[in-house]
Amino acid sequence: MGGLARRVSYIKAFKHRSNLEVPTLFVDAGNLFTDERFTGAQLPSEVMTKNKWVVKSYGDFRHDAANLSYTDLPYLAELLKKDGFDQRAEEYPFIKRLVSANIQPAADSHLAPVPYVIREINLKRSKPGSKLKVGIVGFTDAKPIGPNQKEQAVAGFVIGDPFEAAKRVLPELKQKVDYIVALAYMPLDMAQRLASENAEIDTIIGARQQNSQDPAHHFNRATITYAYNQTKYLGELRVYLNGDGAVENQITRFIGLDSLIPDDPAAVDAVSSAHNEFTTEQNKKALDTSASLQPTSMLSTANSPFIGGETCASCHEEAFKIWEQSGHAHAMATLENKKQQFDTECVGCHVVGFQKGGFQSLVTTPQFANVQCESCHGPGRQHAENPAKGYGFIETPVGCTTCHTVPNSPDFDFETYWPKIKH
């Protein structure tokens, strides 16, 4: 479900259904790049490859703007280096549509992102023949690092106060445009404050990894809607104008992008190329890693808090047989079929103990591939060494929803899923 290719085809269908009379804009409210394994230095090369394909594809498939959030800053530090910027912008023009009104570089070596972009659309309805200028401006909250703690300096950029930035930028933007969309990577209470304090805003499109399809809120003049986490549901804001071109009404909907929505072939090609380049990079790294490891560390079961399902089977034979017949036993194959077996965003829910001393890669720790006993019951070494009671209790269905989240497993229902693995 989801993905760029279905987004693109849905929007094409939307435009054609209205006989190409309805201009459309396509925006991202933030967290478009991954900051995976960023430790303060440069991002790993395969992570850079993923991000490069996002910025390329967003340009190729007509996104009008994307807001920058704190997670985007490690890669932004690559994009906005003054050295070589013009060449990068020529290759990936979408760089110039990354917006933020409250992110500034800490050093002179980097450019600041533009606070906003302006798009001009030709109206064919409501006020046919006229043009409407739309300003798209970006704001982000600082990076949360603990309860009531936020970090404002990330990857060589400083995240300023979004409310001060709004007071500075919005009056200027309002002079230039007819309609303002604010992209806001922040919780709802902050978005409400943004709307309450700034009457210039017509719409706030917020984001914060939200897995809900809440109806829009209205504060001051603004309609506030939140984007759905990842690509499984596409947000659609319909804007109705009166004969004078003023906003009369705004309605939001969420479109489920399941397999019934066809994939756009060109976008499929782009996603496939991104995949291939990423996989090649990951394969190379995995092989380099395995070549540098000693045989003892390659099969590091003895040093791991995890023991693998085969060891569990020596006592829990019946449960193991049931597991072997289940989808959990083939969880890695579903990733391999989509060439995602190296994608660390996905791997964690398809293996045992990823980044916790268990699965590293298919080359070095194949014994921890697939969703095995310890994926749900927890590390089993202590239990195996001292098989006392008390190990392995799982509170259901909460324990399952660590991985069976709404975006990853929209059809998950404990009552129907449990019988498939009951043991």
Binding site: S9, R17, R125, T225, L234, L335
Partner: protein, 76 residues
């Protein structure tokens, strides 16, 4: 003279080509008709019709998403 005419025709062709390539830049006015000639989706598909919902006269639309975190598709 013939060479001059040929040259002028060539220049005119290059200018026309340049306008065709760059004249509808997305940095200016957006023409909703542009570059959708690759479209081949069956609009009579009942599921797609249901997803698109009724065209009730909206003037324009803004599509939005977020949090793709580097992934152009979803896992598994």
């Amino acid at each position: 003279m013939r060479r001059k005419i040929s040259l002028m025709v060539l220049i005119a062709f290059v200018i026309a080509l340049s306008v065709a390539s760059h004249g509808c830049s997305r940095d200016g006015a957006i023409d909703p008709d542009e570059a959708d000639d690759s479209f081949n989706i069956d609009l009579d598909n009942p599921v797609l019709k249901e997803r698109l919902a009724e065209d009730d006269g909206y003037a324009f639309a803004v599509f939005y998403g977020a949090d793709i975190h580097g992934s152009l598709e979803t896992c598994g």
